[in-house]
Amino acid sequence: MKGLEAISYYNGWNISATGIFIVFTALCTLSFIISQLHKGLMIWEKKEDYIKKAGKMFSRSKKTVPHRKIKASESFNESARQFHVLIQSMKDPFSLPKLIMLAKKIDLGHPHSTVNDLLSAKLIVPDGKGLYYWDHDVYTTILEKE
């Protein structure tokens, strides 16, 4: 038997197609695995770092974020004074965007971060209705400590 008849009779088409498929599968899979091998090894070599990072992330999510303690540094006190003057020119309660806009207008340095520090130090306190007021008692305490 010869020709295409022989190929079909001996199941040649299926054998060849399956054979090519198996060889490609084996080498493609091997190729994929070795392309990822060095990445896996890198993770394995730095496993302690990764464990630490993961641990930190895990513990951070459990604990409540502590309030940042604002040190009454000279620059902070000076900023508080400047903002106190600025707020006196506004009606109580005041809006924060307006305060920041005014601060920008008169060229006070870093108005966003300063307002954030004043909020953290509870010098600026929310009134619960979307506006804020200046806490004179806290301000007096800070000045006394100075």
């Binding site: 022989a6 040649g12 054979g19 060889v23 080498l27 493609c28 091997l30 091998l37």
Partner: protein, 374 residues
């Protein structure tokens, strides 16, 4: 006088026929190509000399010929017919091969897979020409351009064809510098041949140690019949990369592989006795073997061109020709053809990746064919 005449009748001169002379001529050509042209001398010289040994006419019944039970040559040939030598050669190849380039750019492994298409196309062609499936599978594996693999599969499937298939496989391996360049040039443009490859990344020692283990487990789980060849290849490579077993690796890549190559070459050569070798089947095997080799080379080159359609960092399609596993000759041919276009383009290191993956691919293909024919 009668005694003298009887002696004369038993000499080679009285028993010789023209076919022996043809084979002795082929043996001499092999020795010439090996020594004068440096075409695979470590293989062609032993095989060529074996052809001379095998074609000296001997008186049947004296236990001299390789096909006679209890002859010394028959015992040595046992390693071929039982598939013992090829895995030992793979052990040595593993112990001398550096897989770093393959690990640095794994995508080149696909070129080794593509070149194996030649095996299956030749298998179909052999079936179409009237060969039995077992014989067709053994002939097809010549396209893998891997002598030990061809012998291993033929020993398992069609013992009677070991001689012609082994000689065809090794002849074409030796003729890689002649067969491949025209196909490579025909299928590529000058612009493609000028493509420079990216510098490969540095591969760590741990990667090199893990690779033979992963390769063995993965490939042999997919094609268990490849265990004898891939098992020894990966074991040899592990011995090399582990460093602590350097003594064993050195033995495997020197004493073991050299001894086995001598025994394999001489016995395969001796198995080509004219009456067994010079048959119409052998002619068919040689024709199909050459076709198989050409198709495998073309498949590798064309697949590299297809891959380039999807890759950001292009690969030189000449590398596809190294997908046939004639290590390291086909990689050297890639380097030579590449440098004919640009003498400052060094492709050898990159070509070793598909070349080595071709070894793995042809072993897997042999395993697959063997399992289909069982």
């Amino acid at each position: 006088m009668e005694l003298l005449m009887e002696f004369l009748y038993n000499t080679g001169f009285a028993m010789v026929d023209y076919r022996n002379f043809i084979m002795i001529g082929i043996g001499c050509i092999f020795i010439y190509l090996g020594i004068a042209k440096h075409y695979e001398p470590l293989l062609l010289v032993p095989i060529g000399f074996g052809i001379l040994i095998g074609n000296i006419p001997v008186f049947k019944g004296l236990g001299l010929g390789i096909y006679e039970d209890n002859s010394v040559l028959h015992y040595l040939y046992f390693g071929v017919t039982q598939g013992i030598y090829p895995p030992l050669i793979f052990l040595g190849i593993g112990a001398m091969t550096d897989f770093s380039t393959l690990l640095a750019r794994p995508v080149l492994m696909l070129l080794g897979a593509a070149a194996q298409v030649g095996i299956f196309i030749t298998f179909l062609s052999a079936l179409a020409l009237g060969f039995e499936p077992n014989e067709a599978a053994s002939i097809g594996i010549i396209g893998g351009a891997d002598g030990p693999t061809a012998i291993f599969l033929t020993a398992a499937l069609a013992k009677e064809l070991i001689g012609p298939i082994a000689v065809a496989a090794y002849s074409y391996m030796a003729l890689v510098p002649v067969i491949q360049p025209p196909i490579m040039k025909l299928l590529t443009t000058r612009k493609e041949r000028l493509i420079r490859m990216e510098e490969p990344r540095t591969v760590s020692k741990t990667e090199r140690i893990i690779f033979p283990i992963v390769a063995l487990l993965l490939c042999c789980f997919i094609a268990p019949a490849a265990i004898p060849l891939l098992g020894m290849l990966c074991f040899g490579n592990l011995l090399k990369e582990a460093v602590v077993t350097e003594r064993l690796a050195v033995t495997a890549r020197t004493a073991v592989i050299d001894t086995v190559t001598i025994l394999l070459g001489i016995t395969v050569g001796a198995s080509t006795q004219a009456d067994v070798f010079l048959t119409p089947k052998s002619v068919g095997i040689f024709v199909l073997g050459a076709a198989s080799f050409c198709v495998a080379t073309a498949a590798g080159v064309l697949f590299a061109k297809v891959l380039n359609l999807f890759l950001r960092s292009k690969i030189n399609p000449l590398l596809g020709a190294a997908g046939v596993s004639a290590v390291p000759d086909s990689a050297r041919v890639v380097q030579i053809v590449g440098q004919q276009e640009d003498p400052t383009n060094f492709l050898l290191m990159h070509a070793m990746a598909p070349n080595i993956s071709g070894v793995i691919g042809s072993a897997v293909a042999a395993g697959v064919l063997w399992s289909f024919m069982m």
